[in-house]
Symmetry: C2
Subunit: 360 residues, 2 copies
DNA sequence: AGTTAGCACTCGATCGCCTCGAGTGCCAAC
DNA sequence: GTTGGCACTCGAGGCGATCGAGTGCTAACT
């Protein structure tokens, strides 16, 4: 029998997947999910009847639950075990049922004091991931400010012994990248000075993507009048810019928190998950896909498109300075995470990190 | 009845803990341990009789095993379950029974090619930990070259915007440390240049411990004639040297390998272990205690004095350049690891790392 | 004296069986 | 539309039997 809970005194709402659902059914869904988030157990009709506060008998609740099951919002692990929310159930929950409570004062204070005002961006990002994991008891992930978006400020070349040269790239936000380069010939300090002056003058104020593009262009047009020194400087700059990529582009903290959840406490699954955490590649790709969207994004189960996280949810948001997106941060946890609490935490942390990054 | 296997045709040997043990019993102990290392199961008399190759009946083997048990070298988890080596059993095994086979050619080649010749020390150390874990299928740990032992080569100050100065410290082995400092007053590039020239001249060739000591001394003796600029330079150098400490002093790779061992596959234990791996502090302390000793060191079970590793063993050795100890590396695995194979791997990796570090 | 076969015994693992209880679905009555 | 009642399902947990690997002991063998 199809779901026909549409009744006179109760409004019904259209459902994303097509079909209708009564207000009352939604209320029960919400209560069920909240209960399940709290204790992790399948929720039975008796319990839900008590929880919902509507003074209805378990039998009635069973009818409603049956409807919810037919709509694919809940499921029962086996015949005689209450219901558990499905991914779609959670989806509906976070989209329309969530009561976004204002954030706790203490919590806000805790987050605020977590960011050391004058600190370097590296350490701020680290604080962010630790705060996220500490406050939510989940795994915190932060994608560090994307190099592409950073602004070139100056470059210096420092002669080391032999033909080795230390190249130092400073970006506008005070980030420092350095790398040892091997040149074919020996360079004098004066030559190096000249090269760095030239490059700094030409590229200062451009973002790194632009710098890379121009470098490539300039190097291609070798016919352009350019003395050999500059060629070499360009080459060095090129190698520095190319090299300062990836690697520690994503910070993860509190991985071990995930071991506390029974639904994930399976050694094989954990192994795969932790391997992904140490390699970071896949996590980075995942976060990279979140960078386009605005505001807090939530991926439940397979929605992340990342098999390892099928039993997990991911709550992310971007952090930005003056409308420029710097990166993405968020948390990874089991599907049954406390979204109500986690969402504002992620949101606020992003704002605080952005604010801290703004004033170097 | 005490162990009285002393017999005419069989030599007996004194045991570290006092007591005697026959050659034959040792032979059985060795076979038992090798068997247990291979399959992880308690070893019964029938199996051992076959394994030992001495053509003795299980009944005889049982007598021997009983002696071994009385000496505390093996134990049975319960009445009818064969024997398992104890920590003392492993101890005796690694001390006197181990047949150190020469290293496999392919393996040696694999280790050799793992180190990129000209690479920076940071990346060499990373290679070492990855090789250790990859080759042994255990967790590889490397304590990075201790800062104290490094040799100061040059220092440079780079003016940034405002009163911020980027201090760059280069050590003889090509390691680069940098840090952003805030000065009270604005410094001209010329002043900074002068300061860096002075400091480089004074400290070049000294090891970092010496540099720190002299800096502290000089700063204390403010009555000494020294112009204000130098004072400030000293101050900056001081802050840089102090700051470039600890943090990533130990690298760990292949932690997840430990999840494959049933004897460790317990979520609580794993959580504690992985927390220690991310905090690193305790691991660092542990490795620090190994730095004094010479050659390959083996800690079995509680011998490490680190509760979390009670069910693990630790095989370490130091790596050195010209008799100067640079650091410690090794592997962490279950007690029943393949010592025969692991020990040479640790040993050779240390030598290769040292060799790679020698030529920057 | 050391070695061995034989034998009783122990004990975990596994299976089947049962009971218990939480929860469901359906139906008839309110 | 709601509810109580009822039969049914199914996992969890307890109980007992069986199986088999392994032990310890003893008595006989070399």
């Amino acid at each position: 029998m199809p779901a026909k809970n549409a009744q006179s005194g109760d409004t019904t709402m259209p459902l994303p997947g097509g079909g209708q659902i009564s207000e009352r059914a939604l209320h029960f869904l919400k209560a069920l999910i909240e209960r399940h988030i709290r204790d992790g157990q399948p929720v039975g009709s008796r319990t839900l009847a008590r929880d919902a506060g509507l003074d209805l008998s378990p039998a009635t609740v069973r009818n409603v639950m049956s409807d919810l099951e037919e709509l694919g919002l809940v499921a029962s692990p086996h015949t005689s075990a209450g219901r558990v929310p499905t991914a779609s159930g959670y989806r509906l929950f976070v989209d329309s049922l969530l009561t976004v409570s204002p954030m706790d004062e203490d919590l806000l204070a805790q987050l605020r004091t977590g960011f050391e005002p004058g600190a370097e961006s590296k350490s701020l990002v680290e604080s962010a991931s630790k705060l996220l994991s500490g406050v939510t008891q989940l795994a915190g992930v932060v994608m560090v400010p994307r190099h592409e978006r950073e602004v070139f400020q100056q470059i210096e070349f420092l002669p080391l012994s032999g033909t080795r040269v230390l190249a130092i790239l400073v970006t506008a936000d005070g980030e420092v990248h350095n790398r040892i380069l091997h040149t074919e010939e020996h360079c004098t300090p004066a030559q190096l000075q000249q090269a760095s002056n030239y490059l700094t003058e030409v590229f200062s104020g451009l973002d790194m993507g632009e710098v890379r593009r121009r470098l490539l262009d300039d190097l291609k047009q070798t016919h352009r009048s350019m003395d050999e020194l500059m060629m070499r400087a360009m080459n060095m700059a090129q190698r520095l810019v190319e090299g300062a990529e990836h690697q520690d582009d994503v910070l993860i903290a509190g991985q071990t928190n995930l071991m506390d959840f029974e639904e994930l406490a399976n050694v094989e699954r954990l192994k795969a998950l932790f391997q992904a955490f140490t390699e970071k590649r896949q996590i980075l790709d995942l976060l990279d896909r979140c960078i386009a969207a605005d505001g807090v994004q939530i991926f439940i189960g397979q929605e992340s498109g990342f098999e390892l996280l099928d039993d997990c949810s991911l709550v992310t948001t971007t952090y930005r300075v003056e409308d420029q997106i710097l990166g993405v941060l968020g948390v990874i946890g089991p599907r049954r995470m406390d979204y109500q609490r986690v969402i504002p935490v992620v949101d606020v942390t992003a704002r605080l990190l952005a604010a801290a990054l703004r004033q170097p």
